[in-house]
């Protein structure tokens, strides 16, 4: 047992998908960097090469290490986030980097893995029952701590990712009304932006009346229904108020663009319009590697980071986009499958977190690029340019691969 190879029992399927995604990501960064004078593709190559020792270290560490030191890792991670307020470097209005010489590092990319470890550790305690309200509060606190530190940087994109932990908690026994509330909240928010508030309130009322009379006589509770109605009305009206008065103009614009209410192709709509043009011009099989006219022209802003998928769309077409999306979906489902196979609650919860975090990044990023989600800065895992991102996701994934490989060793 002592001298077993670190590659023993590791899940090759996940690793192959990971390698493929990293290679494809680099090819697209290479293509998009040709339009700029920057040597982003060279830097990214260095980042990729450096993941090899990183992976080696992660796989070499004893599987129990992460569970044992989860709290400490989380604590350190929170400290690095808090430290940004004192020592952080501001780039493009966001104070989310530490600068060491010309090298910058973004701690929020690593905080996700730390939070996942902490949450897994907390839930792995057999005493924990998420039906209890205190436990719910404690679990939510773990999630909200890093969010509170990240939001004011400001980095709403990274903060948004943490919402997926609700799904993880649900898997581990959080009452379903949390999920429903979340779902209905989002639905009401979008509806209110599209329709007039009074119509949304009417729809809410109609639904409540329907539910009230459809449910069994014993369950009918006129007071609860009334309270719900008041809450819904209040929420709908406040959405309108928040949207008009609390949101800043650029936030409003992002939603308005998405809803087709404003067409301002030169200003705020530029990004989305350009990325849609680039993807749309790809057709079935794309224009070919390095042949993307939009990519070469550098029309899409931030193409090597958040908008890297436009290069896939333009140069590799629908076929290429489908392959990349399938690889991602395959990886997520594989991780969930592996998580469900875990013998310890700790590694199961962690695996779930990994799948959730990667999926949220993937969905928010591509949905934004194809114009069905507001513009928000979230990288595409393994694809987008950036060392912190790549390493953060690699650490996140490979800790789980190590846990999965280790499961046979735990009695």
């Amino acid at each position: 047992m002592k001298n077993q190879s670190i590659t023993n029992n590791i899940d090759w399927i996940s690793i192959i998908i990971y390698v493929l995604l990293v290679i494809l990501g680099w090819l697209n960064i290479y293509s998009s960097s040709l339009s700029s004078m920057e040597d982003t593709y060279e830097k990214q190559l260095i980042f990729i090469v450096l993941t090899i020792p990183l992976i080696f270290i992660i796989l070499s560490v004893d599987g129990k290490f992460y569970e044992k030191y989860a709290s400490i890792i989380f604590g350190i991670s929170l400290l690095t986030l808090a430290g940004l307020f004192l020592f952080g470097k501001t780039i493009a209005g966001q104070r989310c980097w530490y600068a060491i010489g010309s090298f910058t590092i973004q701690p929020s990319e690593f905080a996700k893995a730390a939070t996942a470890l902490a949450l897994a550790k907390y839930l792995s305690d057999t005493q924990i029952n998420l039906k209890e309200v205190n436990r719910q509060i404690q679990a939510l606190a773990i999630i909200l701590l890093p969010v509170i530190l990240i939001l004011p940087q400001p980095d709403p994109g990274s903060a948004l990712i943490y919402s997926i932990f609700i799904i993880v908690l649900y898997r581990e026994g959080l009452p379903s009304w949390y999920v429903w509330t979340g779902f209905i909240t989002i639905l009401l928010f979008v509806l209110t932006l599209i329709l007039e508030p009074q119509y949304v309130i009417l729809i809410g009322l109609a639904t409540l009346v329907l539910v009230h009379f459809k449910s069994r006589l014993a369950d009918r509770n006129i007071i609860l229904s009334s309270i719900l109605f008041v809450i819904i009305s209040g929420f709908v009206l406040s959405v309108n108020y928040v949207f008009e008065n609390v949101f800043k103009q650029h936030h409003r614009d992002r939603f308005n663009i998405l809803l087709g209410k404003t067409v301002d192709l030169k200003g705020i709509g530029y990004n989305t319009n350009q990325s849609e043009i680039a993807i749309g011009s790809g057709g079935w099989i794309g224009k070919g590697f390095l042949e993307g006219t939009q990519t070469k022209g550098g029309f899409v802003p931030e193409q090597h980071t958040d908008y890297i998928f436009t290069t896939v769309g333009e140069e590799w077409g629908f076929a290429g986009s489908l392959v990349v999306i399938a690889l991602f979906a395959g990886l997520f489902l594989r991780i969930i499958y592996l998580a469900e196979r875990q013998k310890t609650k700790f590694s199961r919860v962690y695996g779930y977190c990994v799948a959730g975090i990667l999926f949220t990044h993937f969905f928010v990023n591509i949905a934004m690029v194809v114009g069905i989600f507001p513009t928000i800065g979230v990288p595409l895992p393994f694809f987008s340019y950036g060392g912190s991102g790549l390493w953060g996701f690699t650490i996140l994934l490979f800790i789980f691969i190590k846990m999965d490989a280790n499961k046979v060793n735990e009695w």
Binding site: S35, I167, Y170, R171, G173, V179, Q274, E276, I277, A278, I279, G280, S281, G282, G283, W284, E291, T293, Q294, K296, G297, G298, F299, G313, E314, G317, F318, S321, L322, I325, F328, A329, F332, L333, I336, E340, Y352, A355, G356, F359, F363, I366, A367, V370, G371, I372
Partner: protein, 650 residues
Amino acid sequence: MRKVLLPSLIILATSLLVIRIFYLQIVDDTLKLKSENNAIKKKYEFPERGYMYDRKGKLLVANQASYDIMVIPREVKNTDTLEFCQLLNITKEDFIKKIEKAKIYSPRLPSVFLSQLNKSEFAAFQEKIRKYEGFYFQKRSLRDYEVDFGANIFGSITQVNEKLVAKNPYYNSGDLIGRQGVEESYEDLLRGIKGVKYIQKDKYNREIGSYKEGKYDTIAIQGEDINLTIDAEIQKYGEELMINKRGGIVAIEPKTGEILALVTAPSYDPGILVGRQRSKNYTELYRDSIAKPLYDRGLLAEYAPGSPFKILTGLIALQEGVIDANTTVFCNRGFSYARGRFMGCHCHGGALQLHRGIFESCNSYFATAYMKTINKYSKPAQAVDIWNNHAKSFGLGQFMGYDLPTGKRGKIPSSKTYKRMYPNGGWRSTAIVSNSIGQGEVVMTPIQLANMMATVANEGYYYTPHIIKKIEGHKIDEKFTTKHVTTIDKKHFKPIISGLFDVYNLGTARSLRVEGIDICGKTGTAENFTRIGGVKVKLEDHSIFVAFAPKDNPKIAIAVMVENGGYGATIAGPIASLMIEKYLRQKITRIDLEKRILATSLQSRYAKLGGLSEAVKLQIRISDSLLKKKTIIPAVKVKTDTTKSNKQAI
């Protein structure tokens, strides 16, 4: 249930993304198009337009370099504004205004600062241009007219209109295109084919290199040079003769159908429609609804031809066998063709045969011949259609198919015409007898008259008149080398031609004889009317003359029409005979006649036409300054300095 939520969410979200990407890439075509416009700039290289020569190889239309001064506002630095403005002959206010305008368009992109400077305007500036940062120049090619006549033949170059841009993929907004005249009808040959360079742009619209190493680029193909059938000498002479008159001259070489001269008056120097003045001048010419300088009277003016039509009446009657050369008609200074209907006649009266009928232009004779033709058949409708068919074989009553972009059909009535005019029927030869002397429902254009004379000169055939003589490396359109044979037998032309010959010797044009040239001709006067205050008023007749010469082996057929010129022999006749003499002899012996015609001005007569408002009169005065007034045009400039040497496609 709890295990299923995340995988379901993943599958649902992924499907949503795939559907959206499918929509963007496959369903929505507009995005693809946008990307092309966005990232690839097409840079065009315009070939130089083909030159035009006359039938003898004399250069008529060449090209000249013109210069646009361009500015990139952001790069303008330390300009010595005073000197700069002096060099370009603009004021400081202009300078500031133009820079501001360019800035509004884009501080980063070039815009036109001053357009279409000619060589001399540009020369001084050229030496110093390097001193002025942010300014550079762009060379363009404009027409350079080597002659000051032929504006109606050449047409001009203008910016293509948006309607055509939408219809014809060759043209882009701002491209130049030939309008009217030869420039329009031979546009495809003259313009050449522009070359395209595909340039990859970045988001700032900056060029970052050739797209796919120039795989799709094409080289500009030079426009073809063409020779026109025009004889520069008589074209110029014709325009001079027509100064201060309104009307048209068409001269055709009978053996080939080549148009030797196509004159319309009033006319203007084609050079005024080039460069910076074009738009202003064109508007003025266009708005002159009185003198209509843009209206090519040789091709477009439709008149009742009057007496020259008697030639056809005679030919048709001969062909139908209702008369022969000896058929005698008694003219009583007129002709009583029905009870109470009398057609007057200016001939000397008495018994006359076809020959005298022609040279004395006897109305009675041809009215009789016409009625005989119509009455030959039991039904007048049938007869009119047979007559119509004969007349149409001379190219009348239809577009002739010549290679200039404007034209009119003219009109030869048929049974249908009369069915419409007399819905209840009952019309007979008497009702339509005016056709016999070129009035009634007969309408012709000067080019149709000239073509009729060419057909008579050829004794029964013609070639479709055309303006193109030679295109290097191409054959001219087959339809111009296809003989059209009329329905009249060759033998019937002899008596008619001898009659036409005696028009000069004994008849209406005997004062216009040219010693040593046998001319066959026919005078004509076309009545015309206008409405002044709702009352139909008869105006001075249009003076018409048709001729060909020499009688044997004819070299030129000509039709001259002078609006309100009066009797055919007073103005149109002299012009025709001078033109013929000039063409056949290259010099004029009858100096007095030439002088008289050059000095004749009908302007006072035209001024009396219609009650014009003060505004219109003012407009006439303005536009008149553009029209040719001087009686003697200076000798044709021979320019050696053309841009021909740079003509190789770059």
